[in-house]
Amino acid sequence: MITTEVVQVVDSTREITAAATRLRDVVRDEEIVPQTVLEIFENWSDALGDREFQEIPGLAFLRLWLRRGTLEPILQRELGPNALSGGWWEDGRARLRAFPLGLIGHWPAANIEIQPALSLTCALLAGNCCLVRVPSSLVDVNRRIMEKLQEADRSGIVTRRFFAASFDYSRMDLQEAMAQSVDGAMIWGGADAVSQIRKLTFPHWSRLLVFGPRVSAAAMDATTWGNAEERTTWCRRIARDVWQFDQQACSSPQTLFLERSDTCDPADFVDDLRKAFEEENVAHPRQEIAPSLTSAISLVRASWLLTNNGTSAVFPQAPDWTILLGKGATMSNPTQGRTLTVLVVDDLLEAISKFDGTLQTLGLGISDPEREEILTRAAGRNGVDRIVKLGRMHVFSSPWDGTELIRPLVRMVRHVQSQE
């Protein structure tokens, strides 16, 4: 039964400190083991299966993330063999056990609908209590998502461990009050947003997990993109990765590198990609657009073609999507708005060698596993944190941005028997 408003509009620092005090009591007095949280999350995932939730971008990923099958292995890997039951595990002559860090503040990005929920789940699995700032633009959707958690958690075991607050981003007094209350924080978003939150006064002991701005790319070897039979499937996967989150996520591909082929024409590949984009656009048409994005899309189309060094492009009259085709090994500047730059490169290693730490995810379509191993190692050396199959670039998993998602939110307590 829904007893309180699950996302509360907050207007005073008093409300935040009162919530923080209550949550601090809960985290100290009520231990919760991951097994219990997993059960509730499993029910939450089921509850989110209603048809009305299907249109929420990324919801399928959230449902998958909440499954026991996804989370159990992560918990065991990050928190140790007895993590699920909250037990101790042997470490030589000592034993170790994960205890929650305490109260975790969450500052999710405003462009990913499911991010407040994703961020929250990491801290709850670690036994923490949470203060979540839900960005104003995401309040409605998160209210719906979190009401389903309330439904799935009728006894309130998990629900009483968090306080979701909505307030304007510019309310620095409220941001400060939140920062000063927490023992740890998960901060997500673009450069400005992340920098702004990091400037807040956190207690000296608090641990900050920052998932800042990144971009992503994709790469395919000549055998894969040249295979006319499988190309349609690969193109659909790419379209799906481009469409999710309107290409604003750090895991959204902005550039696709195609390894040069002596036998196949990239224009044929682009033609299949066009069909995939057209289909995806019919399935998921844009409902609105900022005029500035329309301007940016128009400008990048024109600028690309006006350079005229073998450049071509495919796009409809509307700003629905854009494919820019050219040559080169350097990532293009992201335009977003479903604008994918396809660059033909002699050797994928050349493109990967130019990556720096700005590149988060590399989506791959590579036919030869040995070749993939070489590319993966090169990508890892050049700062890439996730290397996944095309079509799965947004699948949320740990580690993210090269960082574990749950372990940093616990304290590993070491116990050596006093009688020994």
Partner: protein, 383 residues
């Protein structure tokens, strides 16, 4: 007839028509074929532009309406070297837009023919609003903007475009060592005394008139007695909006300072990329499009033209330029379509109301990468 001659003749023909006498349907027919010829001409002259046109989703040669023709976003004129259809020897003048600090200005190259048409275009439009008489011309700016130079800014271009109306030109701002121009009060007062009941043309950028002219005279408690002054101003409202100055307050105070009717204060919309075309407000507050131009307001979601009353991105269309591909340009401004051929002022053709500038596009979300990460040098010896 060669393509160049056909275009030249078509433009001259439209320029000789009354600027607001042609209804929208007839205008469409005349402009469509001329724009097609201009696009073909530009493709011949510039391979990059031809590459753009080649990849446009529809073939311009079969377009049935102007809205289906390939247009360029104005931002492409920030490229270096400037996008041009003429050889460097034929460049008579380069116009630059008034970019704010940190922004790259647009650069527009003009040859003699485009330059001549630009002058004629502005003259034809302005004449319809202020009459054709020559009169004293008071420029609310500093004299250096009057100088004929190879490179000229938006302010200079706007000032010089009205020269043909002038019997004499007086610039009433004087540069100071500090950089902020100063109003030459003695000069103003002596001119006002001399010109008195004569027709006088005044031009200045909107914020310059407000900040340098009106505020100075108001604070000195001076009202000029120039009942027949016509004040044209342009350049946008952003700075005045920041100071919460409304259009009504602007017109009221400017009219009060000059001692003329409020209807003599005319705001117009224009940009260097749309050279030779200005869009003054009529007495009903609508901006009008002359016969040799057109305007399309496009829905940002679909880029399709909006219906009457709809708001969207402004596309300006002008047959005048042949030195750069500026015939069909998607601007970064928004407007609302007021009417087609039905404004109460009697001017035919489309009319619109300016709605605002589109904010600069920003890459959003966690994919918003503003600065590249650098590999930090290893820090050693930290205590």
């Amino acid at each position: 007839m060669s393509l160049t001659a056909e275009i030249e003749q078509g433009i001259d023909c439209l320029l000789s028509e009354p600027p607001y006498g042609m209804d929208s349907e007839r205008r469409q027919r005349g402009l469509l074929s001329l724009f097609k010829a201009e696009i073909a001409f530009a493709c011949e002259k510039n391979a990059s532009y031809a590459n753009y046109v080649k990849h446009w989703p529809a073939d311009f040669r079969t377009a049935q309406i102007i809205a289906d023709l390939p247009y360029l976003p104005v931002g492409v004129f920030k490229a270096n070297p400037p996008l041009s259809l003429i050889s460097s020897e034929d460049v008579k003048r380069t116009l630059t837009s008034s970019a704010t600090t940190g922004q790259v200005p647009s650069r527009i190259v003009l040859d003699a023919a485009t330059s001549r048409r630009m002058g004629k275009g502005v003259l034809t439009i302005a004449r319809d609003f202020i009459g054709s008489a020559r009169r004293p011309y008071l420029v609310v700016d500093t004299p250096e903007n009057l100088a004929t130079q190879a490179q000229i800014g938006a302010r200079g271009a706007a000032i010089q475009a009205l020269r043909s109306f002038a019997t004499e030109i007086v610039c009433c701002l004087q540069p100071t060592p500090g950089g902020e121009p100063r109003l030459d009060l003695d000069r103003i007062l002596s001119c006002a005394a001399e010109w008195k009941d004569n027709e006088v043309l005044v031009y200045g950028f909107t914020y310059v008139i407000w900040m340098q002219f009106v505020q100075s005279l108001k604070s000195a408690g001076i009202k000029l007695d120039l009942p027949n002054a016509r004040v044209l101003h342009s350049g946008g409202w952003k700075r005045l909006e920041e100071q919460a100055v409304t259009r009504e307050a602007f017109s009221r105070d400017v009219a009060a300072v000059f001692g003329c009717p409020r209807s003599n204060i005319i705001d117009y919309y224009g940009m260097v990329e749309n050279v030779g075309v200005i869009y003054p407000d009529c007495e009903y507050g609508n901006k009008h499009v002359p016969t040799f131009a057109d305007i399309i307001v496009r829905d940002p979601l679909t880029l399709a033209p909006v219906a009457m009353g709809g708001k969207g991105l402004i596309q300006v269309c002008s047959v005048l330029p042949t030195s750069f591909p500026g015939f069909l340009l998607l601007t970064e401004d928004t407007a609302e379509v007021s009417s087609y051929d039905r404004c109460s002022c009697g001017r035919k053709g489309p009319s619109f109301r300016f709605a605002g500038r589109v904010p600069k596009a920003e890459v959003r979300g966690c994919g918003n990468l503003e600065s590249k990460r650098q590999r930090q040098p290893e820090i050693v010896g930290v205590a």
